[in-house]
Symmetry: C2
Subunit: 198 residues, 2 copies
């Protein structure tokens, strides 16, 4: 039986995660698959694994900056590198954990669009309120719920799960027993979903 | 005018470079482009940029090991992780610098096939002699030529050029002003070659 679920570990602070988020639902739909959006704290995965943000190597940072723009043009999506980077993504991820499952992808895309295309500092509660409001949701209620201990625990649990399953960067996807790191693994993910790679 | 040249910086010690080497001529041919095979010392690029081999992060190393196998199956090529790793690729790269331009790609593929599919330690002169012999070339003469100061200088110059142009890993490709790191950038390279990305 072919796998029909893509687990997507995302952190809104990651530019390649934004790019992946613009494409993943279309990719999944092509194969009749469902996306499970799983917010996690990328910084904790860096700490736990000893990995570091790629731009800490200047030559790599310079390349990745151009590479991101090329992927954005390839996908036909906007990308504007934010003036506040890295960003405090914690609250945006807690909000994701406070939402019903069906709304998590909607929120992920909205908050990453604000940060990665409109240069809005999503570490600021006022910015998050606006993004929530644009979705027609109750911003004050949702921001309050994002501080529930159970919601905080859920984000911690997602992060622990990611690290236990071998995640060291973002975006990371799982299809069955296969793990995929990066939007550049879409070709392999599509081959697995199409049954061409077991 | 569309770019019709792909510069390919390769070091036989790099597994993703082996994978790329199995595909690049076919990719180039699809777009009427030529591949210029440029041997360089990846280790020197790591030193110069502060980058490190990816497997120095254990979680990343574990993932990349599986990822390599998946790419090999996707491309339909053999891959057997060598028992001697990392390998001393210096002489194999000097040999490349001693060859006429038209033979460099032939040599690159032959020596990487020996190392990455037959577990042969290409740091050993006897192994290199066998690989050269299989190509029908004069092994003793070529190994002697590989020690010429001018040949050593050529490898040094290629390596310096790579670092000066921003290379920090392998494989790295250039098409016009675009740099691409990794076989996973083939989708972008094809888009550039097809004139869909300027």
């Amino acid at each position: 039986m072919r796998e029909r679920t893509i687990e997507f570990f995302w952190d809104s602070a990651s530019p390649y995660t934004y790019l992946a988020a613009t494409q993943i639902e279309t990719l999944a739909a092509r194969h009749g698959a469902a996306v499970v959006w799983k917010p996690f704290l990328l910084g904790k995965a860096f700490e736990a694994t000893g990995n570091r943000p790629p731009a800490t190597i200047p030559a790599k940072g310079k390349y990745l900056f151009q590479d991101l723009q090329l992927w954005a043009r390839y996908y036909g999506v906007p990308l504007r590198f934010p003036s506040v980077f890295p960003v405090a993504s914690l609250t945006s991820l807690r909000i994701a954990c406070a939402l019903p499952d069906a709304d998590v992808g909607v929120w992920a895309r909205a908050v990453m669009t604000a940060y990665w295309t409109r240069d809005q500092d999503i570490g600021q509660p006022e910015v998050l309120k606006n993004v929530i409001g644009e979705l027609g949701w109750d911003a004050d209620a949702l921001l309050a719920r994002a501080q529930d201990p159970a919601v905080k625990d859920k984000l911690r649990a997602n992060t622990d799960e990611a690290i236990a399953r071998g995640v060291f960067g973002a975006p990371t996807f799982f299809i069955g027993h296969h793990m995929f790191w990066g939007n550049d693994r879409f070709v392999l993910m599509e081959a697995v979903l199409a049954g061409r790679l077991g």
